[in-house]
């Protein structure tokens, strides 16, 4: 059955950053240099081809973009400056917006104004919310104790509520991702067994990003890993040890040492990334989407306000600490509420998931191919294509 080409799709992708993809003439250098590109996930070339021809459905069903860590080798090697790396990046953005059923993510990626606007709005609301709450609770001059302006317990509760909401979005989107890439493919003989067998990949890739380490330059991996781990540490601290953290003025080193390290990680990593992007130091930093800037800046300011608030609190300037806390929270909330499910931060979930699903899919495919048919290209006999992609 023939697939309808849609020359218009490329225009839809442009806001996501896919500007040079039409320059590609499929020499295949990109896929050749990519350390991850291997049957059945031969990228960047294949997704680029789909994109050029506007095969939207096929693109939506692709895991390939998530298997790329954007080391930039492909873009460096491309004889046509078709920026395969950036194309993969923009495909990840586009896919994120496709997974997201609310449509928010599409708005964010298509216009930075929306994203920034949303962030500001949520920030303001949070600020107002917490201020009113604080006033109703205690006095601005008290940070700890019974009269505390923002008692950790209540913030803790709020965190959990927020986390719950985010999970709903994130999981539902992840579910859609599964549906597009796996669920829909009727003739893909996946088994529950294979799902379970590959399950280990989720945590492994989440925590180690071990594949990234296979890229030629190790630097980005380290930074990327540092940023992610710091973030996760911070998340864990906040979700489980918030009270121990907040309580003062004495410093509970058992938790704080982790906190300090994480903070340092966040600050250094984001600054490093920002610097690279500003300097366009290498391929993967050459094209920065607005969402990238917003994301990094957001984390940085969150971290900085956190630090400031911590210092003020420990130095007993409770009132100032509380105000900073409000500011801090009104940055944390949009970061969590908007970035995690609807924007860049979501790849935290999608990438490991994709690697996991890719494994399941590959096993299924090899089983199917052994049987002679190739569900990757329904209807087509295996190995019929002239240029294997």
């Amino acid at each position: 059955m023939a697939t309808r080409a849609n020359p218009k799709l490329i225009e839809e992708l442009e806001p996501y950053g896919a500007e040079d993809v039409m320059k590609c003439y499929h020499c295949g250098n990109c896929s050749a240099v990519c350390p991850f590109s291997a049957d059945p996930y031969v990228f960047p070339r294949k997704p680029m081809r789909y994109l050029q021809m506007g095969l939207e459905d096929k693109l939506k069903g692709q895991l390939d973009p998530w298997l790329c860590y954007y080391c930039g080798e492909c873009s460096d090697q491309c004889p046509r400056d078709a920026e395969p790396g950036e194309t993969m990046m923009s495909l990840r953005r586009w896919l994120t917006s496709k997974y997201d059923w609310t449509g928010i993510s599409r708005l964010f990626y298509q216009s930075w104004r929306w994203e920034l606007g949303a962030i500001v709005l949520v920030a303001i609301l949070t600020a107002i919310g917490f201020t009113l709450f604080g006033m109703s609770q205690g006095s601005l001059s008290a940070y700890d104790g019974p009269n505390a302006f923002l008692p950790s317990e209540s913030v803790h509760v709020f965190d959990w509520v927020l986390a719950g909401v985010l999970m709903v979005f994130l999981l539902s989107n992840a579910a859609r991702m599964w549906w597009f890439t796996m669920g829909r493919a009727k003739d893909l003989p996946t088994t529950l067994g294979s799902y379970i067998a590959s399950l280990w990949m989720l945590p492994t890739h989440f925590f180690t990003q071990i594949r990234y380490s296979k890229c030629e330059h190790k630097g980005p991996w380290v930074t990327h890993l540092a940023l992610m781990l710091s973030y996760v540490t911070m998340l864990v601290l906040i979700m489980f040890f918030l009270t121990d953290m907040a309580s003062g003025p004495a410093i509970d080193w058992s938790v704080h040492v982790a906190g300090y390290l994480a903070t340092a990680g966040l600050v250094l990593a984001t600054i490093l990334f920002l610097r690279n992007r500003a300097k366009k130091s290498s391929a993967q930093y050459r094209h920065s989407h607005e969402s990238d800037w917003i994301f990094l800046v957001l984390i940085l300011v969150v971290a900085l306000t956190g630090i400031l608030q911590h210092i003020l609190h420990r130095s007993g300037l409770d009132a100032a600490a509380n105000i900073t806390y409000i500011v801090h929270l009104s940055l944390v909330v949009p970061m969590l509420a908007l970035e995690v499910p609807f924007s860049k931060w979501s790849h935290l979930a999608y990438r490991p998931l994709a690697m996991y699903l890719a494994q399941v899919r590959a096993t299924a495919l090899s089983r199917a191919r052994a049987g002679g048919v190739d569900p990757a290209r329904p209807g087509a006999e295996r190995h019929t294509q002239v240029h294997p992609i």
């Binding site: 059955m1 023939a2 697939t3 309808r4 080409a5 849609n6 020359p7 218009k8 490329i10 039409m22 320059k23 590609c24 003439y25 499929h26 294949k46 081809r49 789909y50 050029q52 021809m53 095969l55 096929k58 046509r80 290209r377 087509a380 019929t384 294509q385 002239v386 240029h387 294997p388 992609i389």
Partner: protein, 574 residues
């Protein structure tokens, strides 16, 4: 027949010959042959030292005959004849034995190859002993030139010659000059206007005092030989002047061009059935009109360009038409610049972007977001009407090679890049001017690499797309090259024609007139008075048909006499 002093030279051609044939053994064997006074084996006979070796021996050893066992005489016979001449030996006293193309390159090393080489050398020695000195005929070179075809090639050649002050008769079959290029809008890859270059040339040709343009005219007959042709030209225009005209010319340049492939021979594109499937030339017409539109006047949202229509296919022409790829890219550019909102797809087999500026042009057409789809050489896209309500008029199904997917491509306007093919009248032309065609009908040049403008008929040249599919620069270059060759001949005033021709020994001729009909050039004349036939040597092209036919052995083929060939037969079999 008295013995002659013969020198034998066995060329090793580096290792080309020596690796297979034991050259020294061949030289030694030759030394024992009757008359051989010098026999040498040397690395490169055609090199200067090699040639000097021969000239030196001719002087020192008073050689009367020379045998060179080396490459094909078609390759280096002229070289060694010149060498002999410089040493004062008549060039026709040299004979070559082809032990490379027809021995070392085609046989396995060893005894048999060496034996064959020995036989060939022996034959050459036997033959050369019977060679005679021949004097080349020197004839006048008529400075006028006949150019067939008023296309870009024909006009370029005509101007080149006329600007040098030589008279040119430019014969064009149609009513107007310009040929196929006149039907084109812009040209790839620099997108400059074909019209501009045309108008300039056409006016110059028409106004040029030394060019007589003959429109609606045809060559009826070409008699004579290099430097001295008589061309009979018929005029079909009902205008003034006689219907038949005979002009004297020294040379002929054939620039009869090509004809476009007839797209209706291919059924699967729906050409002729679907209104918006058009050929490249029809599209050029549209571009010249300045409006790209569909039959119903609407602007196309999707334009698809299909390559290799009639070219590089099993069923039609196996060859590549060479200009279509860049023309297609040109269309992509022209469409994009005229209708920026229109999507252009380019359905191709392979992108042939050789030539100056072309690869760059290809890159640029990718940058204007042309969608390239590749189909297999054996395969072909199929066009069908789209369902009503679809956002396009037609759908092209392509088994797309770069994705391995079967793709349905939307299209409102489909441009078929029709290839070039030899004109129907090209066979007629070959007979008129005595040149030959290859299997595809293109005229054959004298040497594909070293002599691409001359033909096997002396004085007749080919230029432009009548020789093979060609773009404008190549056609012009070839046309001017041909003109330059002719100017060279003219400047020498006289020209030497090969001394090889047939001659009747009237003492042996019985006037039976068997030979009269045999000669394709009517070079044999029967004298009713003396009751003898004789050969007009200038008309004779030395094929030897009459010689083999004459039952009285009264006709001799200079340099290919019975005696010489018998000697050769005896030589290879001795």
């Amino acid at each position: 027949m008295t013995e002659k002093r013969i020198g034998v030279y066995v060329c090793n051609c580096g290792t080309n010959i020596a690796n297979v044939v034991d050259c020294d053994a061949v030289a030694e064997a030759a030394a024992d042959l009757p008359g051989v006074v010098v026999s040498r084996s040397y690395k490169y006979m055609c090199s200067n030292p090699g040639q000097e070796m021969i000239t030196q021996d001719i002087r020192d050893e008073q050689l009367e005959r020379v045998v060179v066992a080396a490459c094909s005489p078609r390759m280096h016979e002229p070289t060694f004849r010149r060498a002999a001449e410089t040493a004062g030996l008549n060039p026709y006293l040299v004979q070559m034995a082809n032990i490379r193309e027809q021995c070392s390159w085609v046989h396995d090393a060893g005894e048999m190859a060496t034996e064959k080489a020995k036989d060939l050398v022996r034959a050459a020695v036997y033959r050369v002993t019977r060679h005679e000195s021949l004097e080349r005929l020197s004839v006048d070179m008529c400075p006028h030139t006949l150019v067939l075809g008023g296309g870009i090639a024909g006009m370029s050649a005509a101007l080149e010659l006329a600007d040098a002050g030589k008279r040119v008769y430019l014969v064009e079959r149609t009513k107007a000059l310009g040929g196929n290029v006149a039907r084109v809008d812009l040209t790839a890859p620099y997108l400059d206007s074909a019209r501009d270059m045309m108008t300039d040339r056409v006016t110059r040709v028409i106004e040029h005092p030394d060019v007589s343009v003959m429109l609606e005219s045809e060559l009826e007959k070409l008699e004579g030989f290099v430097g001295n042709f008589k061309a009979t030209i018929s005029h079909h225009s009902s205008g003034e002047g006689p219907p038949i005209e005979v002009v004297d010319v020294g040379s002929v340049i054939v620039c009869t061009g090509y004809k476009e492939f007839d797209a209706s021979r291919v059924t699967h594109f729906g050409y002729g059935k679907l209104p918006d499937v058009i050929t490249s030339f029809e599209f050029e017409g549209m571009l010249k009109q300045g409006r790209i539109e569909m039959k119903d006047g609407r602007l196309p949202q999707y334009v698809a360009i299909v390559h290799c229509v009639g070219s590089r296919s099993e069923e039609f022409h196996g060859y590549c038409s060479r200009v279509c790829c860049m023309t297609a890219l040109k269309y992509a550019h022209e469409v994009k610049s005229a209708l920026p909102r229109t999507y252009v797809s380019d359905v191709y087999v392979d992108m042939h972007a050789f030539g100056k500026g072309c690869e760059d042009f290809y890159r640029r057409s990718a940058e204007v977001k042309t969608l390239f789809l590749m189909y297999g050489k054996g395969d072909h896209p199929v066009v069908r009407r789209a369902d009503p309500g679809d956002d396009c008029e037609m759908l092209i199904t392509v088994d797309e090679q770069l994705s391995g997917e079967q793709i349905e491509l939307p299209a409102d306007l489909i441009i078929l890049m029709v290839g070039m093919e030899a004109r129907e009248d090209s066979e007629q032309v070959t007979h008129l001017v005595n040149i030959s065609q290859d299997k595809d009908g293109w005229f054959i040049e004298s040497h594909p690499k070293l002599d691409p403008v001359a033909t096997t008929t002396d004085g007749v040249y080919i230029a432009g797309a009548c020789q093979a599919p060609k773009d404008i620069p190549d056609s012009v270059a070839q046309a001017r090259a041909a003109a330059a060759r002719i100017l060279g001949k003219i400047s020498r005033g006289k020209l030497e024609i090969d001394a090889m021709f047939a001659a009747v020994n009237e003492d042996l001729c019985s006037g039976c007139r068997v030979c009269n009909e045999i000669c394709p050039y009517s070079a044999i004349e029967f004298d009713a008075e003396t009751k003898r036939s004789h050969v007009i040597s200038a008309l004779c092209k030395a094929c030897g048909a009459c010689v083999a036919t004459c039952p009285s052995a009264a006709i001799e083929a200079k340099h290919f006499t019975d005696e010489q060939i018998f000697a050769e037969i005896a030589g290879v079999l001795a």
